[in-house]
Symmetry: D2
Subunit: 140 residues, 4 copies
């Protein structure tokens, strides 16, 4: 199962007047974690893999998160990101963000593989994940 661990620091700009992280920032962090997981699986950065597979991205169709303890500017956190399920055109990711070993946030996301679908304004539509990618996402 694909797994990746990143560390980052919660910054002043991530925090709100209560002095704790403003929760949408977690989703920015998680989005980057998912990108890094895929980059490492495919051995390409995002600009490259969008082009190599001629697709438009992997937007979310669903997410949920539990915030168990707050984080503050200056906190060093680690995020463990896992591909927990992979279908024909969608996949599920789990993130666990910890602070000094204690679980602070856990999140789940379901993403779809989409291509540009013409139209004006341009539309996107779900399409099958390429076999070559599936082979990296779910090694036999």
């Amino acid at each position: 199962m694909l797994t990746n661990i990143r560390t980052t620091r919660i910054e002043w700009c991530d925090c709100d007047p209560a002095g704790i992280i403003f929760y949408p920032r977690y989703f920015e962090i998680f989005d980057t974690c998912t990108t890094v997981l895929i980059e490492r699986a495919l051995g390409m950065n995002k600009i490259e893999y969008l082009k190599a597979y001629n697709f438009a991205g992997h937007p979310l169709v669903e997410t949920r998160a539990r915030f168990r303890r707050p984080t503050r500017f200056g906190d060093d956190v680690a995020i463990e990101t896992k591909l927990v399920e992979c279908g024909r055109s969608s996949f599920q990711i789990e993130h666990r963000l910890t602070k000094q070993g204690a679980l602070a946030v856990e999140a789940f996301e379901t993403r779809v593989w989409v291509a540009a679908d013409g139209g004006d304004p341009p539309q996107i539509k779900s399409q099958p994940i390429p076999d070559e990618v599936l082979a990296r996402f779910v090694p036999a």
Copy 2:
């Protein structure tokens, strides 16, 4: 049941290289919607109500969202926000964001009423929602 409807426009700065909204921006929008719902219920703005009830905020403990269709810069959207449940120290909010009448995102959030709890660094802890606030949140 407390309800509020706001309209806003998805801006260029909310969108990513795929040309659609970067999903954490939805949570920023929803956070503001929750604030406005409470401000209207209490007849005070957030600076005033944080002070009036001597508390530190109403952070999320859980959220989930379904993204049903993408939005783009220039899209005018409406967000209907409802208080769907209210406990002793927590409450649940539902948001439905529509674009030209079609549901684009639905989200749920559970928030707790917290006070500063001293400590170094300062901690926060959950506390009962004041009766006066409850009376506004859940009119008899």
Copy 3:
């Protein structure tokens, strides 16, 4: 001279642990103000005008800002945006953000009109502002 006035509210999510706006948020506000100024001058929204003139945007080459008094969440502010100079392929914008009539921030920006220029990764390059646009930017 093209001028536009918008009003907006500084939100909780715009503010940092000092309780005042985190200054990069001002640039997000100003970027939207510039977009709205151009949209009104051209009678098209940004998606439409990017397409109509087949260009890639009007990124900044320079900006400067003075922050004269802080703003806080809940503050209603007005932003007056003016096109103060217009060259062949660049233009200058001035923003004045006021709170209850008092100047809080003034900012200047120089933007260029750019087109996609192929390459891998794709490059952008400056190009002349179309005559039709100039005629709207600087009415004879």
Copy 4:
């Protein structure tokens, strides 16, 4: 003269529909760079130094930036941050952001040392930088 170099990666979430960084994100990056410069000079993290010197922060009173070449998601950049001038209650910072050695952005900022000044809503006011801090900022 105090100097610090940080490296960071421009992420998908930093970029706009033109595929390049949305320029306010540079100011978020620079704000963190200034914080890190001060943290290293003082040997404390920001939570600690705000407390140690009983002040409310070092907001900007002025900034300017030149954007010389765009950056994109996936770009690794380096930011050299210098304290270029230090007065009694304000100081100036210069940032130079490079991509593969080429200058992409240069920015200047003037910041003031402020304390909470009571009032309702709370005000802030400029105050002298403590001698102990000056000694670290401008070693004799």
